[in-house]
């Protein structure tokens, strides 16, 4: 019995978004209610799916009732389930933040685009078909572009153009890669690709290698890996902060795609393509860490600083991904969950800080209202991002380091991660001390100026603070319950490394159908 639940993370927002965009487009309140309600339902569905996937069975949903590989399949395993859950939880937090701070009212169609965005991300995580992955890359690209330029402004439009142009170039490359792949294996289903590649003659696998490499570059563009990461800092720094927080999951789509495609389809143990991630991804990830750390230390403004810390965290994540061993992938998965939430918390918090500060430059300003609370939250989020205890970043870092002990890896990977951490810590300490500690005295009242009522700054509402706090609480929880989380990650990893199991689950129904 096929469970229709699998498609709901895609279908529900896909149905809700047009309704919000069409019926509710003149009434923001209605749109807000629908959007929040829809996202809550999505969180619930994602939880259900995660519980269901935790049983260990790879669940397959044949769209249109066509058997794989001829139709498109959705595949639910632990990995896709937990990522969908992460997306929806993050989405809910970001959505509440955007509503509480009024970001959603600064332009049109925020909620419709937001739902489409959730749909795109969920679709990318759930699909078992590489062309369908392309389609969902398109969905999430166009929706994210809309969200990115939400609210407008010169710098944002400029950065948005950069974002969409680079990513469209990536999409074009994706199509080329798929063309090459289809013309060399004749199928688009991930499991079927794996099956056919097992029979392929390594001596004649030139085109397959090209396809695998091009696909990796495409995913690396999404994952913001050197040398194709250049779009990220400006995009994240100029996007509306809640959108940047949501984008924290977008880079993970790239990381996920590499994990998925390079385990299931190209897989370790496949002679033709197995060296590609280790040879090329690994050094790229090292450089990415370095660039991220330098960017953090050299940042003049708060949002670019956070954006570069995201670059650095992607480097750390991808070092672990590049190793393509079960232990490293499990560590990567833990770190992925952590770094997504940490980046989101920082962006949400930065939004609150900037809402009561004159500009985002890292130079002294008069003390802001509620400094203590915001400083404490910033401290927590920065701890998470830089990988300090007690939040989950530290454990994530330890897990990644522990997984990279091979002779060729240890020196480079450990040096990069540890030195990168130090530089990032120094960068965040400088920024935090500048924002919260080094304040200029409030301007003395100008006698000659006409007297104006100085409005007491509005206190932050619970709804504004709750999303950031909730995310930090989750990070704390991931630290305390690191054992169970890591067990899940290990099970998920074991499942994706069980290629035969995956192939059997997806293609097994062929005979029945």
């Amino acid at each position: 019995m096929m469970s229709h639940w699998i498609i709901l993370p895609v279908l529900l927002p896909a149905l809700l978004a047009p309704i919000i965009g069409f019926v509710m487009r003149h009434d923001l309140t209605m749109a807000r209610i629908a959007s929040v309600a829809g996202t809550i339902v999505l969180v619930a569905i994602a939880m259900g799916l995660t519980v269901s996937a935790a049983g260990g069975e790879t669940q397959v949903y044949d769209l249109g009732n066509w058997p794989a590989p001829f139709g498109i399949v959705l595949v639910l395993d632990r990995l896709s389930a937990i990522l969908v859950l992460l997306t929806m939880v993050l989405g809910l937090a970001v959505l509440i933040h955007a509503i509480a701070t009024g970001w959603d009212a600064r332009g049109r169609h925020f909620h419709a685009l937001f739902q489409f965005q959730l749909m795109g991300i969920a679709g990318a995580f759930l699909t078992g078909d590489v062309f369908n992955l392309f389609v969902f890359f398109e969905v999430l690209l166009i929706a994210s572009y809309g969200l990115m330029i939400h609210g407008g402004g010169r710098e944002r439009m400029r950065a948005g153009l950069q974002y969409v142009v680079i990513n469209l170039a990536g999409s074009t490359l994706f199509l080329f890669a798929l063309g090459v792949l289809y013309s060399s294996v004749g199928t688009l289903n991930m499991a079927d690709i794996a099956l056919r590649l097992q029979e392929a003659d390594p001596a004649e696998a030139g085109l397959i290698r090209v396809a695998a490499m091009l696909l990796m570059i495409v995913f690396a563009v999404k994952a913001a890996l050197f040398p194709v990461h250049f779009w990220l800092p400006a995009t994240y720094a100029n996007a509306p902060a809640p959108v940047a927080a949501l984008f924290a999951i977008m880079t993970k789509v790239g990381a996920y795609a590499i994990i998925r495609v390079h385990t299931v389809s190209f897989g370790p143990g496949l002679e033709a393509t197995q060296d590609i991630p280790g040879t090329w991804l690994f050094p790229a990830a090292i450089i990415t860490i370095a660039l991220g750390a330098l960017g953090v230390l050299g940042a003049r403004q708060l949002l670019p600083l956070i954006a570069f810390s995201v670059v650095g965290s992607m480097g750390t994540l991808m070092i672990a991904v590049a190793a393509l061993t079960p232990q490293a992938t499990a560590a990567a998965l833990y770190y992925l969950l952590h770094s997504t939430l940490a980046a989101a918390a920082l962006f949400l918090l930065a939004d609150l800080v900037l809402s009561r500060r004159d500009g985002q430059a890292l130079s002294p300003r008069p003390a802001m209202a509620q400094t203590g609370l915001l400083a404490a939250l910033f401290f927590g989020a920065a701890i998470a991002m830089t990988g300090m205890p007690p939040l989950s970043g530290f454990l994530g870092k330890l897990l990644v380091l522990d997984a990279l002990r091979m002779p060729g890896q240890i020196t480079w990977a450990w040096s990069a991660i540890l030195i990168g951490s130090l530089v990032t810590i120094v960068g965040f300490a400088r920024a935090g001390s500048m924002i919260f500690w080094k304040t200029t005295p409030t301007d003395a009242p100008d006698e000659s100026a006409p007297e104006t009522e100085v409005a007491e700054p509005r206190r932050l509402t619970v709804a504004e603070l709750a999303p950031t706090m909730a995310i930090l609480a989750i990070l704390g929880g991931m630290s305390i319950f690191a054992g169970p989380v890591m067990s899940f990650a290990e099970d998920a990893t074991a499942q994706i490394y069980d290629r035969d199991g995956y192939i059997a689950a997806v293609l097994g129904q062929q005979e029945e159908g």
Partner: protein, 956 residues
Amino acid sequence: MTDSSNFLVIIALLPFLGALLPGVMIRAGRTACAWFTAFPTALALLLLLVLAPAVMRGETIHAEIEWLPQLGLTASFMLDGLSLLFAGMILGIGLLITLYARFYLSGNDPMGVFFTYLLLFQGAMLGIVLSDNILLLLIFWELTSLSSFLLIGFWSHLPEGRQGARMALAVTGAGGLAMIGGMLILGDIAGSYKISEILQAGDAIRASDWYIPALILILLGAFTKSAQFPFHFWLPHAMAAPTPVSAYLHSATMVKAGVFLMARMWPALAGTDAWFYIVATTGLVTMVIGALIALFKDDLKALLAFSTVSHLGLLTMLLGIGTPFAAVVAVFHIINHLTFKAALFMTAGIIDHETGTRDINRLGGLRRLMPVTFVIGTIAALSMAGIPLFNGFLSKEMMLDAAHDTTWAGNPLIVAVLATVGALLSVAYSLRFIWHVFFGPVRDDYPSKPHDPPFGMWAGPAFLATLVVVIGIVPAAIVGPLVAVAGGAVIGDAEMPYYSLKIWHGVNAALFMSIIAVVGGLVFLALHGGLNRIWNALPRPEAKAIFDWIVAQVAALSRRVTEASHNGSISRYLAILIVASVALGAVAFGGSGLATPSREMLPVSLPVLAGWLMLIVATGSIVVMHHHRFRALVLIGIIGLMISFGFVFLSAPDLALTQISVETVTIMLLLLALHFMPKSTPRESSGLLKLRDGVIAIAAGGGVGALAYAFMLRDVDTISGYHLENSYTGGGGTNVVNVILVDFRGYDTYGEIIVLGIAGFVIYALMDTLLNGPAARRLRNTDYAQNRSRDRHPLMMVVATRVMMPIAVMVGVYIFLRGHNQPGGGFVAGLVISIALLMQYMASGFAWTQNRQRVEYHALIGIGALVAGLTGAAAWLYNSPFLTSLYGYVELPPIEEFGIGTAFLFDLGVFMTVLGAVMLMLYSLSRIARYAGEPINVDPMDYDPKQAIVDEKGEV
């Protein structure tokens, strides 16, 4: 777990739980706040005392909670002699500091925050000494760095506080990160992260190839934390913290963490040459340098800070010597240093608090004004100097004894001499502390009038001074058992050395060294004025300046690298992306690995050649003329058309149809958009840049061409055979392309129409934002001095488009209906109808057409996407997956029998979404037009002949 284990866990957790209290209790007043800070500390201390007897009997208490078994990380705690000693110190001094801080902090200082930080720090410190797992220890280690950052920067309005905090974090954080590496290696060698197991594996560890890297990385952590040369420089700057913090961090806790770690790891790591030469040498150098600098510091806290550096060096040296005797001496000195140094810091704080200055040059003569403080300070300082009857003397004697027995690189004297020099300097600065502060004439220029502080403030140091004396006189009775059990824990399985804690050891070398030190110290004190002038004249490296310079340079370099590499140039980013793709693609291909071609080349016919030539010429022309937007657009149109012909030639009528209609719609929309842009694009690239881009473009195009060529020559077994077979039987259509679109891969199509719908929404939202912002003003004020047609809505065009309209709509409907079996379908039909409508807009203007338009574009998109989605979901009703199609045959006279299926409905959704998206784009363009001052016409054409006739009649 046993009760003791539970107690142990509770002790470790109490400060963290307690940290929640002060922030809340401050609302009940400062005293209440202090009480509620003291409460968790006192409770933990009480529980520790409950456990103490067992530990003193030689037992070790363990507690373990699973945490992250995959990593080997367990929340395991242990309490042995060493842990007991440190935990007692941390909690005991913590209590005294709480009391002291209650009186020290001013009303302006946020005391709740202070005590919260203090308890967090206390918890972190306690965690370090109680950990039975090195990864857990690492966690607490980093927590001390973080919480000390907060404590040192507590007075964040002072630049010294901020800088000192950051420096401490950077230095100790760096050490902590190095230690992460060291601990992970150590755990790997030992096969366990449990300290109790690592300590058993000392021989294996020392024999491992990885011993040296692990040792160096771990020692980096210990040395930075314990301020060993050359990492000592952060400690004096941490003095910017309020004095209670200094007293706590630099006597009992933070800086002792490094010493604790070396003591803890002593059985596993010590005993090798590497250990001796690294640790003992560093300690010795630090001891002398720290003491030397301390002698010339005028700030009381700076003097004490460097004396702390010196004494930490002493402890490090003792541990580094590697003999059990030296290790036990270290333990004894830890206790003694704690008592006198904490008392001295508090004394310095009292003096600062009461006189308003810590500058020795402005003090003196306080003996009579502050008698209580004088007594306490003098006792503690004499102990620091190592004068008999005070506890500092005892451990110093033993230290000198140990140093005397140590040979360094074959030289038996050097350690002893340097140790004596250190002791001598120690005497000098200690006596200077007493002499220059308390003795001498009473001055009349103290910043405020000095008097003894309230009892609460001197109670703590007085207690410690009492300990100094009592331990100094009857050491064995008071701390003998503790030293034995803690020392035993440090040296592990090694045999307990002979030592005795007593004042008189007889006439031995250490006694002579001690006498030299005291006499020399007195001489130095007498000569201090002159020495000071020499010292100040000497060039000395200023550590803070160097550190700041390094950080500033690295930050500036980072900024340069970042800003130069991320300069926002899209063309550069694209160039990098493309070069990387081409290069890596070529590398991946590796020059071989192709199957033999299985297809013949097709002959080139004349039409194909002509089309190919047009394609080449048009593409080449774009390269030349792309600055002229309009021409470029025309050329793009030609290219699109040629591609469509290519599809026709290659027997792909569906693709050709789609390509032509997409091309038409796109070109029309772009034409409309061109109106608002300058006629030509700016020339930005230099010749070299053009050359670079040209080369990249040719390489990329060549690469793609080569790939296409490679796979077009080869057959591959694909899944499309199945699609061809099942298109009619399973999908109910004979046009397999359409069946793939709406059935086999309907989910892709669903995604793609949503992309289109989103694009419509995005463009609408974007336009809305733009037109409500500054861009709208620019639009209004731009003078479009282009030659506008006098007849913008020409009669001929209006009439022609009206006539075309029904035909075009019929074509659209036809294409839509035949789609399932013949080339066509919802996507193309949507575009065709869009073209029909677009023509009306072009002919008669937007406003006129808009008034005759009853369906909203948002509605079209919304309903279209909903129809497609719901059609797919309808499959659930008969328990099939999303997008499963159903079809049947309907006979509807007079039309011949035709098939109808759910795919039809799905295609309808596609149709509507496409139409809606295109029209929404058009709508957005027309909004710009209105902002730009385009007149709104109410008539279908500018000159209406019918109207003219009416007018004529009217005139008649």
